[in-house]
């Protein structure tokens, strides 16, 4: 059902480099797992709304999850700590490798 080409494509979409051994292993694993998941074909879900969230109803009622769209101050020390963690930087800029060659 799921072949090695497909796995290679999905791995690329996932931004994970995989070797030939992993290609084989993951296609076998996913095949087995998805085969089991096909159990869902037995359920009739026509007219059933999806629940993207366990207490969606509550949140909709309260609307309390929406915060005001406004800026707030950020601790300067925290910003420094976060910048310090970047792999490559120049001054306060994050440096990345060439995107287009």
């Amino acid at each position: 059902m799921i072949n090695k080409e497909e796995i290679k494509h999905i791995a690329k979409l996932s931004r994970i480099e995989i070797n030939t051994k992993e290609e084989e292993k993951f296609s076998k694993d996913l095949d087995e797992i998805l085969n089991y998941f096909n159990l869902l074909e037995k359920v009739n879900v026509s007219k059933i709304e999806p629940s993207f969230h366990p207490n969606e109803k509550f949140l909709k009622k309260e609307l309390s999850f929406l915060r005001k769209d406004e800026s707030f101050s950020f601790d300067e020390k925290l910003i420094e700590k976060i910048i310090k963690m970047t792999i490559e930087k120049k001054d306060r800029y994050v440096k990345v490798k060439t995107i287009l060659k």
């Binding site: 931004r15 994970i16 996913l30 869902l40 059933i48 999806p50 366990p54 976060i82 792999i87």
Partner: protein, 471 residues
């Protein structure tokens, strides 16, 4: 005075009455860790310096006769996917091996206000993905009852640390059973709270619509004390909710316990079935009414859970890019190459498998058949619980179909590992609270937990019902 197997209240009153100091107590826990953890491997690392500073501060409060909050001076452990400022948060992954937390998780902030003592961070399956801690990039946590067996997962380090008395209580996180299953395997109390009751800010995200932080403790009372401190609305987590318990006085003669017939089927270990059924009949003897119920969509919960969890994981873990923080490979020549190599070398096999599975379920052509279908099945599972709770107050089930399995037994077969979550995942999909309470031992002396499931925001009820097992 012997400082073993102390509960939160034992410690609180011991400190208040000056039977021991917080420093003495903390040193005693470190001594126990030194003796036991070389066999068990529950801790990824200790925070001795911080712990002794915290303990000294508590002793100062005591000598000044200041009022002590209930968790003051109580030594605890924290699953290593929860951020404590200045300490590492590795998620048991090479990806975050050197990541130092820039801020405190909200639950940590609350516990710091209480002045509890942080002994160290505990082992887990990498990024909380697994049921045995065998997916940790560093080592496997052994079961304190049998070192050849797993502690469960993913919060296996936390459960094993509590079970072997290397801490008074611990924090864990539960996405599909990661607090309850290791608690069952290690014979301790583990609470997965209602979705939204505890802020997830500062918990490294795995599957955001399922993740919850909760306590692992020695008693239901301790779990309740810790949960009451953790709960509540937090500005920084939009899904968190303030709530008050409905008053509940346990009158056993009025208690209606539902037992879902779908949970006692082929595949359940005979001893697990026997012990759970015998505990259910104990409640019946105490006067509770036992009602057979049906949760008809139970068999679909596991595939729905794994599709939703891996889809959310594939999105959440996109942040590990080899640029902002974490592991990065030096031998790269383009931006795409940075991503591909950092993630190839930084993630372990199970994490890769789940990201790939989730990406597949969300990809064009499969979204409707897998991801959307799973979310619709989730609605049906929620309705199953809503219908059941019209007839009963609480639901009793096993936590896991088997007691702790052997190290290595399932690690090469991902599907069989996934199947060990069969009794715990529905609870996360429905967002309801559930607790694992020790229910007995197998013939091999392995602990077996009873799962008590409640209506949303009724943690008080399930813990009180569970406390009857402790008497």
């Amino acid at each position: 005075m012997k400082l073993d197997n102390l509960t939160i209240k034992d410690i609180h009153y011991g400190l208040v009455k000056k039977e021991f100091s917080a420093v003495e107590l903390t040193k005693n826990y470190f001594k126990k860790i030194e003796e036991k953890d070389k066999d068990i491997s529950a801790f990824l690392f200790l925070s001795k310096k911080l712990a002794l500073e915290q303990a000294k501060e508590v002793d100062k409060l005591i000598s000044n006769n200041e009022e002590l909050p209930i968790l003051s001076g109580v030594p605890m452990a924290i699953k290593d996917n929860i951020l404590i400022q200045g300490l590492k948060t590795t998620c048991a992954s090479k990806m975050l091996e050197n990541y130092v937390s820039p801020y405190d998780a909200t639950c940590i902030k609350k516990i710091k206000e209480q002045k509890a003592i942080f002994l160290g961070k505990t082992n887990l399956d990498e990024f909380a993905m697994g049921a045995s801690t065998e997916n940790s990039a560093f080592f496997t946590t052994k079961n304190p009852y049998d070192l050849k067996r797993v502690s469960g997962g993913s919060s296996g380090g936390s459960a094993a640390a509590v079970a072997s008395d290397m801490c008074c209580f611990a924090l864990g996180s539960d996405t599909g059973g990661s607090i309850r299953q290791p608690s069952s395997f290690c014979g301790v109390v583990g609470l997965k709270p209602t979705y939204g009751s505890v802020s997830r800010y500062g918990l490294v995200a795995y599957a955001s619509s399922l993740d919850q932080i909760g306590p692992i403790a020695k008693t239901t009372e301790d779990a309740r004390i810790v949960f009451d401190i953790l709960k509540g609305k937090d500005e920084k987590d939009a899904t968190s909710i303030d709530f008050k318990y409905n008053p509940f006085n346990l009158e056993i003669s009025k208690l209606k316990i539902g037992v879902p017939k779908e949970y006692f089927i082929k595949g359940i270990d005979k001893e697990v079935e026997k012990i759970i059924k015998s505990r259910i009949s104990d409640y019946e003897k105490m006067g509770a009414k036992i009602i057979e119920i049906s949760l008809p969509h139970t068999e679909y919960a596991l595939p729905a859970y794994y599709l939703i969890a891996t889809s959310e994981a594939s999105s959440n873990l996109a942040r590990y890019d080899g640029i902002k923080y974490g592991f990065s490979d030096k031998e790269t020549d383009s931006l795409l190459d940075v991503y591909l190599k950092a993630r190839a070398k930084g993630f372990g096999t199970e994490v890769k498998r789940r990201i790939i599975l989730g990406t597949y379920a969300l990809s064009s052509g499969y979204y409707d058949a897998y991801y959307l279908k799973a979310q619709k099945v989730r609605t049906l599972i929620k309705k199953d619980f809503e219908n059941a709770f019209k007839k009963v107050d609480v639901i009793f089930t096993p936590v896991s179909p088997t007691p702790a399995f052997k190290i290595g037994e399932k690690i090469t077969d991902p599907l069989s590992m996934y199947l060990s979550d069969i009794y715990t995942v529905s609870v996360n999909l429905a967002g309801v609270p559930a607790v694992s309470v020790p229910a007995g031992f197998s013939n091999d002396n392995l602990p077996i937990g009873l799962q008590i499931i409640g209506k949303p925001f009724e943690e008080n009820k399930i813990l009180e019902v569970g406390s009857l097992l402790e008497k």
